[in-house]
Symmetry: C2
Subunit: 212 residues, 2 copies
Amino acid sequence: MTATVGGAPRQRRAPGERSRARVLDQAARLATIEGLEGLSVGRLAKATRMPKSSVYVLFGSKEELQLATVDAARTSFLEEVVQPALGTGQPGLARLRALCEGYLSYVERRVFPGGCFFVAASAELGARPGRLRDRVATYQQQWRDLLQAQAQAGVDAGELRTSCDPAQLAFELGAILAGTDIISVLHDDQGAVERARRAIGDRLARERRDNS
Amino acid sequence: MTATVGGAPRQRRAPGERSRARVLDQAARLATIEGLEGLSVGRLAKATRMPKSSVYVLFGSKEELQLATVDAARTSFLEEVVQPALGTGQPGLARLRALCEGYLSYVERRVFPGGCFFVAASAELGARPGRLRDRVATYQQQWRDLLQAQAQAGVDAGELRTSCDPAQLAFELGAILAGTDIISVLHDDQGAVERARRAIGDRLARERRDNS
């Protein structure tokens, strides 16, 4: 059930779904500034100018609101970073590069005002066991597994040297990207993103097969 | 004014100072789990079993308590990571290595239950302008400046190749360390620290003069 608006197909949503999407969009943005713990039915009602009772009906509890916010942020991350990169070239080095560049661009464009939603959420929840941390940890693991799968594909395709350890390479790229996000947001310094581009370019160049 | 206890010299503190130190120790630990925003006079009174009025007298306001907590965490970081490393060898590569290893050991030993205090604080406050963020940003900048100064000393001493860019190297080391902290805490995975050791060893080996 789609309607075409301005040439682009657009999903038609029931009023409840539209309200839900509006609240979650605000919630994910707010969470990167004030933390997931700062989210509450009252805080979101204020930010979206909806009655508190309506927000409550949509989510029921603070934890459900938080979990739905993490899921909405993941959808955004997939759309902004993962899907464009996986539409690039063949599995392997090209997609690995595109994933890293997509991430840096997502930080640079401040898709979320506090930088990467998942770095902020990881830092906030890392030492707080529970469903919310488990959800964030699962999605973060998927991200690093994706980097590793593309590194492995690069080895299999003969683009990366056979001595390349895909798990180690994926770890290093993931750590540099997360560390860059923190430095870039804390100092409001886009130079950090440029330095990360150089670091990642050098790191990948070292693993190229013609460099072994 | 020191007394010797168990062979070690120990600073004699006035009762107010002792209470203050006790509250700040708890505050810094709590902040890495619940965030600096989670600190309050009431929360600390509960955690230290002191009357709320006594905690209030010591700090006066939530912001003063938060700022004092950041300063206390910095003192701990200097003692745990920076001072031991700067007591190692000569300025240059040996101290750069010791700073990185000191940081990884500090994450590995969970000096703070939520990992590196400053990564947690950076992620929490990055997008919240104010005195607290400025204080954290200043200390984090000092840390990266220190890494850069040791890299520069390594170039000056002829240990690192002349093409080494100390600012870029310091950025990369700082980003890998911060990213490792996040991954290690989120997944409670000490393997991340081992991977970081390997990454840093490889990165520094590439900059060695005999590698140019």
